[in-house]
């Protein structure tokens, strides 16, 4: 057995197999297992609830239609779903020119603001969200998948259909852009801030 096959939880493979043979309960179970991750990914990529809802629905419609295309040798089912979601999100962004709108909405923060001291405050969270949304698409995807969705580099690479090294470099670049945008000018006690 290939190593990558071990990464697919047997319950998910089983659910997918049953779903493809027409088992509605298996489909429902898969949906409940994965919908929130797909929804959050779309929301974090676009910042729009309506788009996140549409994308989530379309991802699971696509799973019904094209679920047989899932190949465990190429990655996990989660990666497969993120890959579909990513394509749909990119299409939405292109269509609605959402990138420009979101980029316009974000202003770089002044460097003397100590963001992390108030990190639990909603507006601070929203500032971070806007900073992520303002990243160029390729860097945003890497940050959202690896830092917000906690995917491994391998799974992110499978979802983005690119080499692991590319994910790493995009992630580093994305984080560097966030440092600049959020204006972390001085070392901060992150533990306190995050708490």
């Amino acid at each position: 057995m290939r190593a990558s096959q071990l990464t697919v939880p047997s319950s998910e493979s089983d659910l997918l197999r049953r779903m493809l043979s027409g088992d509605e309960d298996a489909f429902t179970a898969l949906y409940r297992l994965r919908q929130s991750a797909v929804y959050r990914f779309a929301l974090q990529m676009t910042g729009k609830v309506t788009v996140a809802e549409d994308v989530t629905q379309e991802v699971f419609m696509a799973l019904m239609e094209h679920g047989r295309r899932f190949d465990p040798a190429r990655g996990t089912l989660a990666s497969f779903l993120y890959g579909i979601a990513r394509n749909l999100v990119l299409r939405r962004i292109e269509r609605a020119h959402a990138t420009e709108e979101l980029t316009d909405a974000i202003e770089d923060c002044p460097g003397d603001v100590d963001l992390l001291q108030d990190l639990t405050r909603r507006e601070t969270i929203e500032q971070v969200r806007r900073a992520v949304l303002s990243l160029p698409g390729a860097y945003r995807e890497a940050v959202v998948l690896c830092d917000l969705q906690d995917l491994s580099y391998q799974d992110a690479a499978a979802a983005l259909d690119c080499p692991v090294g590319t994910v790493r470099s995009r992630l580093n670049r994305g984080r560097a852009m966030l440092v600049k945008k959020l204006g972390f000018a001085s070392p901060i006690k992150a533990a306190e801030g995050a708490g």
Partner: protein, 188 residues
């Protein structure tokens, strides 16, 4: 603690705050309805495929199968005893005398059972198309399908019998489209 660590902490906080976000509850119901529709459409397509394939096989078979040669119109002279004598063959080696016509014996119970007329039990016709074309002329084709096909029209089939073969009549429209199907059970 470097700047990137601060960013990571900020992202972690954002991730945690988003953890509760999920798709609205009504989406699940919508998708379940879509799943059922999708499943029904797939099964209709499957039956349509089987029926079409069966129809093609039948058409090919009826077109290219060798046909029995018609009986010769030229009467064949029945050999007579004199002919046998003239041929120089003895009566043992000459052509066999014409056999007597068969005698109709009363049928035994076994024979009666063999010859019993097969009765067919058929279901109603189930449409295979949402909007079937009007049928002016068409054809009814008997095909052999897996029992699983019965499920596609909502007939109950036990899991362990899905692979068994069943007979069905497929109603083909003039242009060869399978428009309806009924299942047939042959009983003696």
């Amino acid at each position: 603690m470097n700047l990137e660590d601060n960013v990571l902490k900020a992202l972690q906080a954002l991730s945690e705050s988003d953890r509760e976000h999920q798709a609205p509850p009504e989406m699940e119901a919508r998708l379940r309805v879509a799943f059922r529709r999708n499943r029904a459409a797939k099964r209709r397509r499957q039956i349509f495929g089987w029926a079409s394939a069966a129809a093609v096989v039948i058409v090919i078979f009826t077109t290219f199968a060798p046909r029995p040669r018609p009986a010769s119109a030229v009467p064949v002279a029945r050999p007579t005893e004199s002919a046998a004598a003239n041929s120089g063959l003895g009566p043992e080696l000459g052509p066999a005398p014409a056999t007597s016509p068969p005698i109709n014996l009363p049928a035994t119970p076994k024979a009666r059972a063999r010859n019993a007329v097969q009765r067919e039990i058929v279901t109603d016709f189930f449409p295979l198309m949402d909007v079937p074309p009007p049928i002016g002329r068409g054809a009814l084709v008997r095909v052999d399908l897996p029992a699983e096909a019965m499920r596609t029209v909502g007939l109950p089939v036990r899991e362990d019998r899905l692979a068994e073969r069943v007979q069905a009549d497929v109603l083909l429209s003039e242009d060869g489209l399978a428009t309806a199907i009924r299942f047939v059970k042959v009983s003696r």
